[in-house]
Symmetry: C2
Subunit: 229 residues, 2 copies
DNA sequence: ATGAAGTAACTGACCCGTCAGTTACCATAA
DNA sequence: TTATGGTAACTGACGGGTCAGTTACTTCAT
């Protein structure tokens, strides 16, 4: 992006100030890690992609792990921030769902490498942990959003609220999984219009969420329910 | 399992016939790969876990890749088989959903290492592909199940059927993602009763699926729908 | 000239895969 | 039963390639 238009001259792109170089390296590293995953990415790949020697890379980052950690931290911070902002700005839970989904589609489109890192390359156990934390943090925030109005309702007893909370927490992985899965699917099927995919996800999740407010609602009986008790 | 009770004697467990040893090695390799993922698992780990030399391992499997491929192939075949059987044996789509979810919970409980391999360790790109194929195969089968009755309905035009099909395919990643995500979440929260998690997933997905038969149904308007058009 | 930006060449460790050699087991004959 | 030879299961030790991280040196801006 910024690197070809940087130094103006034809082959004269070298000798950047420290901070700018660091930024560039982070960007390049993100792309490499995103494309190949942690283990298949070598420090030399990153250096070569930045048209720089490996040693220089090590003057900016003490180790491969540190570089990777910094990259993922950036991603997680960015994505969390976007989602939080979107959810906070949205009106009610339907708007919140639509906003979250839109953020995810946007992010996956704008930053495909970062997205790949988030959803596919969990090979580094440490990162798996971090991402699960991200999911849980988002989940909690979202459950809070859903329950905000109910919490403010003075008619609801503390016990009833707790039941609601537990239900909401159970719904979180379902929503989260559907969203991620839908985005990934859509990326692999570009012929499908994004609007359709988004709308489908919103409605699917919204209907599931509906349970939270309307209470239990079993599958219709018109189709031989479950065979066993 | 069978290895401690095998040779009877205290330290006398060695020298198995070819086929049995091969089975044991596959089992051990599955556990190792499942726990550490492909790249962090070394052939020596597998050999050591089987209380055998690395060289012997290489007499059964030509390479690390081949060993891994054989392991994953086993898993995919097993899981696909179970799911297909469950869906075929179930009555209608509600039963099908419940059956699929039950299979997934069972499998994750009985074979935690295999499960980990399926949902977490996608670091080998090749395996990621295989698993996406698995998902697509299952998705197609499931969409077929859902549409079976509609296809047999002579009143539905070919065009109407096609719309249904397209909708069904869009729903597949949503269902698939929710199911996997719910199982993974439940494994991390053992205090939640499995029945609750299962039931929640069934209802969530069932409601989402409901769209397929009832047609479009937008989120309720009681909550300031979406902000923009 | 001074120091920061940058590199080529190098080191050490790790790990896949191999090979020469050893051990347990089994068949057949004395 | 016991000796003998054949074979399949098994191992220790090492070659060879790869890759994270280092060192000693050069280039450029001010």
């Amino acid at each position: 992006m910024t690197d070809a238009a940087e130094g103006a001259g034809p082959g004269a792109r070298r000798r950047m100030p420290h901070a700018r170089r660091r930024e560039q390296l982070l960007q390049v590293a993100l792309a490499e890690f995103g494309r190949r995953g942690y283990h298949l990415t070598q420090m030399e790949h990153v250096a070569a992609a930045a048209q720089v020697s490996k040693a220089l890379l090590y003057q900016h980052f003490a180790s491969k792990e540190e570089l990777f950690a910094e990259v993922t931290e950036t991603i997680v911070a960015e994505l969390t921030g976007r989602l939080n902002a979107a959810v906070l700005a949205a009106h009610g839970s339907a708007g919140g769902i639509r906003a979250m989904i839109r953020v995810l589609f946007d992010y996956a489109t704008e930053e495909p490498d970062a997205w790949a890192l988030v959803v596919r390359h969990l090979d580094k156990p440490e990162v798996g942990l971090e991402l699960r934390e991200l999911r849980d943090r988002l989940g909690t925030a979202f459950a809070d959003l859903l329950l905000r109005r109910r919490r403010a309702d003075p008619r609801l007893s503390r016990a009833a609220l707790e039941v609601n909370e537990r239900r909401a927490r159970l719904l979180v992985p379902l929503m989260y999984g559907s969203m991620l899965s839908m985005v990934s699917w859509w990326l692999e099927h570009p012929d499908t219009p994004r609007e359709r995919a988004e709308q489908m996800a919103v409605e699917f999740i919204w209907l599931g969420l509906d349970r939270l407010r309307t209470g239990e609602r079993l599958p219709r009986a018109d189709e031989a329910p479950q065979a066993e008790g």
